[in-house]
């Protein structure tokens, strides 16, 4: 006899997916993100050139010809914002993923193993926190030139540290819990415990911190372009557009408002999506 639909066993992940789908706000957030990403990826093909200048026109507010207005060199802001989105979203996702991968693993291992290993690992984190970041980046550029992967590495190298600390803190607080003891008692290997039992249970704060890291990464990229790493003119990114726009916000408000609005929209969507993910993956949440 086949079990009834509602009683069929579901894996953790399909369970989570179903719950996520039902969270309307999170779902909306996800849709918005996908639309934004598609717009930035494909949009520039249809829009005007992002680098074509019109010096005599200068910066003009939104008009029929330039939906978001133009910048001080007469370039179409919509095109530049979409192009900038490509850079920012890519950098945001990739660099954060790097930080995530390193930070979560490092923090979980340190928290789980505890004792001397934890002490050494955390002292290494302390050392890396204290080293001067600007000098570190300049050195990287001296040795490796200026390419986009260096950008990911430099950002990831800085962001994983706090992620590791947060994960370690979470792991420390749950590793004494019964289900972990049970797994140990069952004789499960350490790697299995860490990756299949510990990490899924610390995902909550990790997801929240990830949604906070992505915007920080986007803004950090603007700082790095100041050092010469990252996109070179005439290409731009949201961080650089917002920085430039903020310097002119009294005269040419659209230069700040539109890139800023897209940036904020991305953040809000990420946030709600993240919250939904967190809820969906929360194994202990009641089903009500």
């Amino acid at each position: 006899m086949k079990p009834a639909e509602s009683e069929r066993g579901h894996s953790l992940w399909s369970d989570a997916w179903h719950r996520l789908r039902r969270n309307r706000l999170a779902f909306a957030g996800g849709i918005v993100l996908i639309v934004l990403a598609l717009a930035c990826a494909a949009g520039p093909v249809f829009s005007q050139s992002y680098e074509e200048q019109n010096l005599d026109l200068g910066a003009v507010p939104p008009s029929r010809e330039h939906w978001l207005g133009t910048d001080t060199l007469g370039r179409d802001l919509l095109a530049r914002t979409l192009y900038g989105g490509r850079i920012s979203i890519t950098v945001g996702l990739v660099a954060t993923f790097v930080a995530l991968a390193i930070g979560v693993t490092y923090g979980a291992v340190a928290g789980f193993l505890g004792g001397k290993v934890d002490a050494v690992m955390m002292r290494i984190v302390d050392i890396l926190y204290a080293l001067p970041f600007a000098i570190f980046v300049i050195l990287l550029m001296v040795f490796f030139g200026r390419n986009i992967f260096l950008l990911f590495f430099a950002i990831g190298a800085v962001e994983w540290l706090t992620m590791a600390r947060i994960v370690r803190g979470q792991v420390l607080s749950i590793k004494k819990m019964e289900f972990i003891e049970a797994a140990r008692a069952l004789g499960l290997g350490r790697r299995r415990i860490i990756f299949r039992h510990l990490i899924p249970n610390v995902l909550g704060p990790v997801i929240v911190y990830t949604t906070l890291t992505i915007p920080a990464v986007m803004l950090l990229e603007a700082f790095l372009s100041f050092l010469g790493l990252g996109v070179q003119a005439p290409m731009s990114s949201w961080g650089v557009l917002i920085k430039d726009g903020s310097e002119k916000m009294e005269e040419f408000w659209w230069l700040l408002v539109f890139p800023g609005a897209l940036f904020s929209l991305t953040l809000f969507s990420l946030n709600f999506l993240g919250d939904g993910l967190r809820d969906a993956l929360d194994v202990r949440a009641s089903k009500d």
Binding site: N23, L25, G114, G115, D118, A119, M122, R123, D126, I127, Y129, A130, L131, P132, A134, I135, F136, I138, L139, V142, L161, T162, R165, I166, R168, G169, Q170, L172, S173, K176, G204, P205, I207, V208, Y209, T211, L212, P215, A216, L219, I242, K243, S246, M249, E250, L256, G260, F263, S264, L267, F268, N271, D275, R278, D279, D282, R284, A285, S286
Partner: protein
């Protein structure tokens, strides 16, 4: 616990030593030096300048000299501002940054914690959305946008504040609001996340079943565990916030040490770079220690290892 703290303090020594050594060699391999200027400096002048500052000695000798002067608490004269010593510069500017940092922290905690807790308790209701959205403002509007915006509106348009400077008590308001808003966002979001983890736990359900009032459940039981991620985050965050923020100090022209972290690197001011790095290391190590102690206090199941 005393043993734990002492052990950590002992570990501090190799950590600081590694940091100093790494930084010392990093800054010397970077192109451009303290005397690199737009006008070409003749080789003779360069030689004489380097002799004056001891930069013509072999690198290992300079390193040993520096280590021994650090052991005497002397961080050396600044290369960029040679009439002042690094100790002087830090002594003048650190208190300013600490003031700014602590005030911003008050804003961050005062705004962030209640928002986060409320959002967690009223999960997925409109209160949650409003609180979360309000908290997000601090991240959506970067400090280099919010600062000038606040100045334009409240200092220039309304004339309630100075546009910049750190002269009288009222000058503290705009900078700490700007800096605090960012951290408030992090605090709110991490608190909400942490609280949600805890609110679904069995022991919370037990407390409720036993008839404890909702606020007691939240404040006495849930908060302890729920604050774990925030506390982990706050360790390095506080170290960062009290050593000043480059952006805030530049926008508001505040004579703090935060600007020197970045400017000393750009100026290739070797001694000041090392001095600020040592300072920051001290704060990081100290704060991480405090945070680890607090984690144990919050979660009695943990032990000092």
């Amino acid at each position: 616990m005393i043993r734990f703290v002492l052990q950590r303090l002992l570990q501090t020594i190799p950590v600081v030593w590694v940091i100093i050594t790494a930084t010392f060699f990093m800054i010397r391999f970077v192109p451009g030096g303290p005397f690199t200027a737009e006008r070409a400096v003749t080789p003779e002048i360069m030689r004489n300048l380097e002799a004056h500052y001891g930069l013509n000695k072999p690198l290992y000798r300079q390193y040993l000299d520096y280590c021994s002067s650090i052991l005497h608490g002397d961080l050396g004269p600044s290369f960029k501002y040679p009439t002042r010593t690094v100790n002087e510069i830090i002594a003048e500017k650190l208190p300013v940054s600490i003031q700014l940092g602590l005030l911003s922290l008050c804003v961050a905690l005062g705004v962030g914690l209640p928002l986060g807790i409320l959002a967690a308790v009223k999960r997925n209701t409109w209160i949650d959305y409003v609180c979360s959205s309000f908290a997000m403002v601090g991240i959506c509007i970067p400090t280099f946008v919010m600062g000038p915006l606040l100045i334009l509106v409240f200092a220039i348009h309304f004339g309630w504040f100075n546009a910049s400077g750190w002269y009288s008590p009222i000058d503290r308001v705009l900078p700490s609001l700007t800096l605090g808003s960012v951290y408030a966002a992090y605090v709110a979001r991490l608190t909400r996340g942490g609280m949600l983890e805890v609110l679904s736990q069995d022991y919370i359900r037990t407390a409720r079943a036993k008839g404890a009032s909702e606020s007691r459940v939240i404040l006495r039981h849930a908060l302890r565990g729920g604050l774990t991620p925030v506390v982990s985050f706050l360790g390095p965050a506080i170290a960062g916030i009290v050593t000043g923020s480059f952006v805030i100090e530049t926008i508001f022209q505040i004579p703090g040490i935060g600007r020197e972290f970045i400017n000393s690197a750009f100026n290739r001011d070797y001694t000041l770079v090392l001095g600020t790095v040592v300072l920051y290391a001290g704060f990081i190590i100290g704060m991480n220690l405090v945070v680890d102690v607090i984690q144990v206090w919050l979660n009695p199941k943990l032990k000092f290892e």
